[in-house]
Symmetry: C2
Subunit: 357 residues, 2 copies
């Protein structure tokens, strides 16, 4: 059996095999998406997420097929004309590209790979409707300062703020009062099979979607747009058949995580991150941490430059049954490795992984 | 254990529990969506579908999150301005509604519930780019004549034709030469968990998507639009993480179905349909088949009007562990039942179900 330190799909949360078995026994594959049984599991997933991540009661939780779809739906639902994208790598650039695909007037502010922005660089032009930030850039392991992002909202209360927490949830502690749209994919920090994205949406973002719809702007087809997703989540009745099995698994893994406790998860994540960073900082002749500044280094995704190339190391680790990620951009593919640090990874796993370097 | 004759989600294909167990053992939850392991299972799914449903080699097979998403992506990718929708019930109306949501000039030609169109009614105005047909309308159990649909394409080779085969696949034998976009959801005839839709696309439809993109028309965000899906399927490299577990299950269920053989599946479906129809035709004091004309009655979804109301019957069947579907439109909800007849349903299941009426 391999242990996966890849950035997602990744090591499954340890209870997944048992939950899958239970799903078969409880006939989760066959139950209707409009019945009582579905409502119960839907509420378990949304209530669990609300509790674990401290999501305000007036914020909405919607499900899509991936974080990538979440990017598209957020832009469609909240931007008539102008968006701004503070990009720190491949995944934040994806949302910028999507805004252009959707024929919005999108502006990009680009950080160097491995770096982020000073708070003085976070300037929002007057016409901007949506400002997009990536908390944790999965391609580079850079992490933005949340207080700086909150300050953007405080100074610009009328614009909407989108936050990519794809690879930092559930570890990240977001103050949702300053965020209008946040999104997650479950195959990273939650250790679930891929195929489900989560969007957390503020009342202000919903108002914008309603306003755009009223102006006859294309916000996407019903059920997939923010207005249609709101209708479905409020009635707890899905018009479109969702990934019921994934929602069942999510609700149960959230229950497991609530039993462990989010503070414990955060503490363990920090412990494991320290172990990983210390190791590479003590082996600087062979490795260097790609994000030099520890204040902006993600505890959940560490990117390491391997002197002399990463490919043979990746192969060696694989031969020991440890799978790590490649670099993302073509120029990093054979130079970087990416190591994730999610709740499914134990301290023992991390120690064992590092012993093979 | 219940037996589900609902229209989807429905009775799981019998091998699903074993395939799920194997998925855990084979670490399908953790494997990368850009690696060799994924490519193998992706090809198994697409090759299996191509073989089972006789899809031409030059047609493309794309995966989305649901048939509902398929409707949206087909409209986005193939219509600049004008579509026409021949609607026979709630699900064909959904695609018409989506075209309007997406700000297309959509025209509806509506059949009475339980009825369909004469070939003379299938007239396509000159400006139409996409004509949408529903082979099997899951809400009413009405089935359109495929030859009539093919003739539309023969007479109008320049327009694109979309065919909803959501609840008739894999039973339906489509001659894809006359169809540009067909779509399926796996939680019906394939007996899989919900969360995956399939789109089968002709080269002509792809050309249209390219042309629209070149004209700077919004065809949806990359990876989700027909052009982006083509790129991903041709490189066998998913940019966006797909529902890998569902693709694994699909490939394996397709293999099982190929072992049974499509002709056997069709023969068995016809046998079971005859049993169901004969039963209700022999009990006309209590029931009537909603689709009177057998030529347009779907073998895979039978809708029955229950004289005196359907609710107590549905409850009674449930107490015997047989689950059937409600009517879809509000006015049918308490009058109709819907019984599906998919490969997962055995002749014995059908006999037992009917014995409880």
């Amino acid at each position: 059996m391999n242990t996966y330190f890849t950035p997602g799909p990744t090591q499954r949360f340890p209870t997944i095999p048992q939950h899958l078995k239970n799903a078969v026994d409880e006939e989760i594959i066959s139950i209707a998406h409009r019945g009582k049984g579905f409502q119960v599991l839907f509420e378990k997933a949304t209530n669990g997420l609300r509790k674990l991540m401290n999501i305000p009661a007036n914020y909405h939780i919607f499900f899509v097929s991936s974080a990538t779809e979440a990017m598209e739906r957020i832009i469609q639902g909240t931007v008539e004309k102008n968006s701004i994208h503070f990009t720190t790598g491949v995944f934040s650039e994806r949302m910028y590209d999507f805004a252009r695909d959707l024929k919005k007037n999108a502006r990009q502010v680009k950080a160097k790979d491995g770096e982020t922005f000073t708070h003085k660089e976070l300037i929002i032009p007057k016409t901007v409707e949506l400002a997009c930030f990536t908390h944790n850039e999965t391609s580079t392991g850079v992490m933005m300062n949340l207080t700086d992002i909150y300050n953007v909202k405080k100074s610009n209360p009328n614009i909407l703020l989108s936050l990519d927490i794809v690879s930092s949830a559930p570890y990240v502690n977001v103050d949702f009062r300053y965020i209008d749209c946040a999104f997650i994919s479950v195959q990273k920090g939650f250790g679930l099979p891929a195929g489900l994205g989560i969007v957390i949406v503020s009342p202000q973002a919903i108002m914008k979607a309603h306003a755009l719809q009223k102006k006859d702007i294309n916000i996407g087809a019903n059920f997939h747009n923010l207005v249609g997703m709101l209708y479905q989540s409020q009635t707890h009745e899905m018009i479109e058949t969702p990934n019921i099995l994934a929602l069942y698994l999510l609700g149960n893994v959230l229950e497991d995580m609530l039993t462990i406790g989010i503070e414990t998860i955060r503490k363990q994540t920090n412990q494991k991150a320290k172990l990983i960073w210390d190791f590479f900082e003590n082996n600087m002749s062979k490795y260097s941490l790609f994000v030099k500044n520890q204040d902006i280094r993600s505890p959940t995704v560490t990117v390491v430059e391997v002197k002399g190339g990463s490919m043979s190391l990746i192969e060696k680790l694989k031969s020991k049954s440890f799978i790590v990620g490649f670099g993302v951009r073509p120029e990093y593919k054979e130079k970087h490795i990416r190591i994730t640090n999610f709740p499914a990874h134990t301290l023992e796993d991390v120690k064992k992984l590092l012993s093979f370097f």
